[in-house]
Subunit: 382 residues, 2 copies
Amino acid sequence: MKLPQGFRTAGISAGLKRSGRRDLGLIASDGPLAWAMVSTTNVVYAANVARNRELHATGRPVRALIINSGNANCATGQQGIDDNLRMAAAAAQQLDISDVDEVLTSSTGVIGVRMPIDRIEAAQAELQADLASDSSAFAAAILTTDLVFKQEEVELPGGARIVGVAKGSGMIHPNMATMLAYVMTDAKIPQEQLRVLWRDVADRSFNQVTVDGDTSPNDAAFVFSSGRLDCDLAALHEGLLRVAQGLARRIARDGEGAGKLLTVQVSSAASDEDARAAARTVAGSPLVKAAAHGNDPNWGRILVALGRSGAVFDPAQVRIDVQGVTVYEGAPQPFDSAATSELLRQDEVLFSIDLGAGSGSGNAWGCDLTAEYVRINADYTT
Amino acid sequence: MKLPQGFRTAGISAGLKRSGRRDLGLIASDGPLAWAMVSTTNVVYAANVARNRELHATGRPVRALIINSGNANCATGQQGIDDNLRMAAAAAQQLDISDVDEVLTSSTGVIGVRMPIDRIEAAQAELQADLASDSSAFAAAILTTDLVFKQEEVELPGGARIVGVAKGSGMIHPNMATMLAYVMTDAKIPQEQLRVLWRDVADRSFNQVTVDGDTSPNDAAFVFSSGRLDCDLAALHEGLLRVAQGLARRIARDGEGAGKLLTVQVSSAASDEDARAAARTVAGSPLVKAAAHGNDPNWGRILVALGRSGAVFDPAQVRIDVQGVTVYEGAPQPFDSAATSELLRQDEVLFSIDLGAGSGSGNAWGCDLTAEYVRINADYTT
């Protein structure tokens, strides 16, 4: 996709992936970028997450981000911290950025194995030469076991644009899925406002994706603004949400072994937080996921997943619709189960839930649970 | 198993299960029983759970418990409440118990379908005639999709005995796993003390079993004391814990589609609560479970599951042993991965984790994640 003004990205193969696929990516800007980041809540986190958080706390703008796939540089101790800094320094030097603190880093891939930093350093000239105003090579370079690219774009009134690129939630030997997202816009917005928006957007998008309930030590979602074009704040907020939710859907749809996308919409919750927790719990329930795989309109599993979500509600006030068919409304409803099962034989499945407890709402995205998921994650033997 | 003094149990077929297997069970005593119960934390719970909680709150002793399998009598509205009370009344009448409040009830099976209460009422004479001082028929009558009986017994110094019977965690169309446990002892203990012990025992046993993270609206674990024999309190506590943990292991081992039992032992946690949360999260992680299925000594997945458990620790202080082999100790350790993988090809797998954060400890029990789990839970199509 064509990038917003002020951005160029690159993606090349530096020899980190055995497959020879692209594994080193770069986002660069001529000028300072306002930015915001949300990152993993896991107590275990990678060197790059620790450093990016420190830089985030300074409130200073950045000019570039370098990312490698194929190695997460996590659980690698002091060596990993040093290697991560070397990666930032290599990109800074190549891009003539005098302050290394203006270069962020990301890594995704194997845990607990030293990163081949020499190869990353040696690839800098080629990486810079690949910089272009199109996101495709970068979108390829950040993938691990993903089956498809994940990109979204939105054009705002007044001409500003938003382009988002993401990866996840594939898994990689010997470790785990990482969700990464990079959203770029040329809309002008003060950094402090951008950070407020981004927290809200992330809570309503990336934080509502569930594939298997395991969080990665490298998860992070970034937004960058080059500040070239004026834009209405509400329109920008809405645009960022559209891009982020679009990426979230793509991540869930490409979940490990997934056969279909599950969207769970919760309304009339006591609060937005309750709605999001309820939606996440249903989308993440192994029983609901397995039922979706089997085209089974199993409202009992949905009701009981809601019951352990922490959301406050009275089961007698709940309504559950499966693909538009009301199957429970305070009590079991008569419905044509064969026809409803047929409706579940689609690439996208919608569960709509009215909790009857207030005016909060929220969505979550997940995927069905398949034997292929087990095969992918079990059949590797050391 | 031979029951403790003062107890008789029965198990017959009342025609609730299509298979014709036993589906109606009874625990009866000649005299008053001190008792304690822990039950599901799900917001959605069955009529019997609601009634048993009310009776528990009165602090009064009971004399019997009647249980049916094949129908959970959950999400059945006022009809379900009425049917549940009819079930208790039928047993009370047959047993000549004048106060229906002395009869507890349990149900497990299909959700959202009216219970065939007529069949339960009609079977009372046969049920009473089946009462015997052996637990086997009762142990069969409470099963749903379980593959094996689950019983444990312990003899205490002084001659008092404890016998426990459980079911779970199979799943039943169209709904969900239920874990039920009934522990009987002739050891004498005041009811208030019994309730304190039982809460502690349940927290260290039944509440540490995870098959798929979904809780049932009918989960409950009961203990009954006929008070016939004197017993040291500490010995009784220890005996109850042994029986409950033994049942917990059996439930996990018989988890849906399970190929092996996973035991997660956490030590040196900041608190027992932290240790239990950490153990539960590791035992419940789909990635850890899939790796166990594939005989993959994947310490990264264990470390990262610990990281999202809520337990407080520093990854640099953590040690992880897989089947006795140290694979991580603040940093990745060299180990023979092929040999360790061979060690994982066993029916029982042990992960031992030292969090290096204090003196808390706790265990959890789970099972591996297999394609069979997905098949069982997905292949039903309406």
